[in-house]
């Protein structure tokens, strides 16, 4: 699985201010949280599909298609075991299949799938530096934002290093596929150690380079990257906030819940 899902397009969503995108992410969590019924969740699903089309994010959705399907299927199944309410259609010692448990379970699955879709859309349209800029605008300290950016940047480098070590060891005849799952996992330990030590060698130099450039002298350092707030960002902010208010209203007025007879 690639560590970057960002797709470089010039869509209106791509060009939104990072703070608006991070805010949209939180509003989606908020909106999904308040409603249980699949029908109430459906409009958000339709919105996701429209946004996926507008942002050209389908390749990422296609890549994760099995995750979406399994997420909905197994969440529905899990709640058939634990949500033992409503008149039973099938009542076995473990599974309690009722209309209520089906609707509740499917609703939970849909919720989780919509949350996954939100994160895929967010990562498809937002660069790492935009994400941290958005977090900093929302009050996350600069050093924390820096650590997040650096971790995002270093992870693919470590994966590449690990693959190089795997190839080198395989050329020498080391068999990574021998034994059961635990034995195979243990055979990867000699790969982790050189990657670990290589990372630590970088750490000292990186810290010195950062301090030489004055890292941490100011609480709010200057940046080459500037994200001006435009009228379209304000409009998007208002629309997103409206969605959040609408979904809370749906909950508040008693819609979106599952009726159990």
């Amino acid at each position: 699985m690639p560590i970057y899902l960002y797709i470089d397009r010039r869509s209106a969503i791509h060009r939104l201010h990072p703070t608006v995108k991070v805010f949209a992410l939180f509003v989606m969590f908020w909106s999904v949280y308040w409603v249980d019924h699949p029908l109430a969740l459906l409009p958000l699903g339709v919105l996701m599909v429209a946004l996926a089309q507008a942002t050209g994010s389908w390749p990422n959705f296609y890549r994760l298609r099995w995750l979406f399907i399994l997420l909905i299927f197994f969440t529905t199944l899990a709640w058939m075991v634990f949500y033992r309410r409503g008149p039973a259609l099938i009542d076995l010692p473990i599974i309690h299949l009722s209309r209520a448990s089906l609707v509740f379970g499917f609703g939970r699955g849909l919720k989780l799938a919509e949350l996954l879709a939100t994160s895929v859309l967010f990562l498809s349209t937002t660069k790492v530096e935009e994400f941290t800029a958005g977090l900093q605008r929302m009050g996350v300290p600069y050093r924390v934002g820096f650590a997040i950016t650096l971790a995002f940047r270093l992870a693919p480098l470590f994966i590449d290093s690990a693959l190089t070590v795997v190839q080198a060891q395989s050329l020498r005849g080391y068999d990574f596929d021998r034994g059961g799952p635990i034995a195979r996992a243990r055979r990867y330990v000699p790969v982790v150690i050189p990657v670990f030590m290589g990372a630590l060698r970088k750490a000292n130099n990186m810290a010195m380079a950062l301090e030489a450039r004055g890292f941490g002298i100011r609480a709010a350092p200057t940046s080459y990257i500037d994200f001006p707030l435009r009228p379209r960002d304000r409009l998007a902010f208002a629309i997103v906030a409206g969605i959040g208010v609408l979904y809370f209203a749906i909950y508040y007025f008693g819609y979106g819940a599952i009726a159990v007879s």
Binding site: M1, I3, F29, W30, Y33, L67, L70, L71, F73, F74, T75, A78, F82, Y83, R84, R85, R108, K111, L112, A113, L115, L116, T118, S119, L123, P141, R143, V144, A147, I148, L150, A151, F152, R153, L154, A155, P156, L157, F158, I159, I182, A185, R186, Y188, V189, P190, V192, I193, V195, F196, M197, A199, L200, A203, N204, A207, L210, E211, F215, G216
Partner: protein, 261 residues
């Protein structure tokens, strides 16, 4: 717990935090496609990394574990439950080195004496149970998934990695890092511990709180047992209100204990 705040002033610790997070994410993301229970959790050999990093980098590893897990979550769907996942992973990286300093201060975690092995298992179990409690409690509070699923799978998943993989990596890496004077005790010599009696009281509270939360979470979320003082309306699936009333105080006791350590 003050070192979790103080470490952000130290540039080397910030870099080590990013490296811990990147190493965690680098192993976590490729295994996102190998689910143990689809939609619930996946195979996580990466859970060996926070344990190893905790013994090496202390507070930097705690933040690294939280950030690394957040990066991983972006590829499996972020949601409101991930706030609990962030805190749970922070604790998963924080508890091992703190507990080790109380029960085996000055001893190397790679010494293979029976007493040391027993202490190592106890430390990993304490970290795994608190991590599982926090995620299970949070997800059940939000009524996403029952406590009894996540609260047990996470302990199993964490312990397999911590017992099968972490000792091997630690054995290869710890002596080298110590020789290179890159342990957290070398990086932050200014760290002062609380009096030993306070730390032991903290550890006792941590263990009582987390074991109590685990037992209560399992009993309540399966509907097997319910305290008699709870109103009947709380005793219905998905038991989110019952979990809020019964498990939350125990979680706060465990967190208060961690704070005193």
């Amino acid at each position: 717990m003050h070192e979790l705040r103080l470490m952000w002033r130290n540039t080397r610790m910030v870099v080590l935090c990013a490296i811990s997070a990147a190493l965690y994410a680098a192993v976590l993301v490729p295994f996102k496609v190998v689910p143990l229970i689809p939609g619930v959790t996946e195979l996580r050999p990466a859970n060996a990394i926070p344990i190893v990093c905790s013994f090496l980098f202390g507070p930097a590893a705690a933040w690294g574990s939280a950030i690394g897990n957040m990066i991983g979550d972006f590829f499996g769907g972020v949601g409101p439950g991930d706030i609990f996942g962030f805190v749970a992973n922070l604790m998963y990286g924080y508890i091992p080195y703190k507990t080790w300093r109380i029960i085996a201060d000055g001893q190397s975690p790679v010494m293979r004496t029976p007493a040391n092995i027993a202490k190592y298992v106890a430390v990993c179990l304490a970290a795994s149970v608190l991590c599982a409690d926090l995620v299970g409690w949070g997800d059940n509070l939000l009524a996403f998934r029952p406590f009894s699923i996540l609260g047990n799978i996470i302990i199993f998943n964490n312990m397999v990695s911590a017992l099968v993989l972490s000792p091997l990596i630690l054995y290869g890496v710890y002596p080298r890092v110590r020789a290179g004077r890159m342990l957290y005790t070398d990086m932050m010599p200014e760290l002062a511990e609380r009096p030993r009696a306070t730390r032991i009281a903290g550890l006792t509270m941590l263990l009582a709180g987390e074991i109590g939360a685990w037992a209560m979470g399992n009993l309540v979320s399966t509907g097997y047992w319910m305290p008699s003082f709870l109103p009947a309306s709380f005793a219905i699936s998905p038991y989110d209100k019952a979990i809020a009333v019964t498990v939350s105080p125990l979680i706060f006791i465990a967190l208060a204990g961690a704070w005193l350590m």
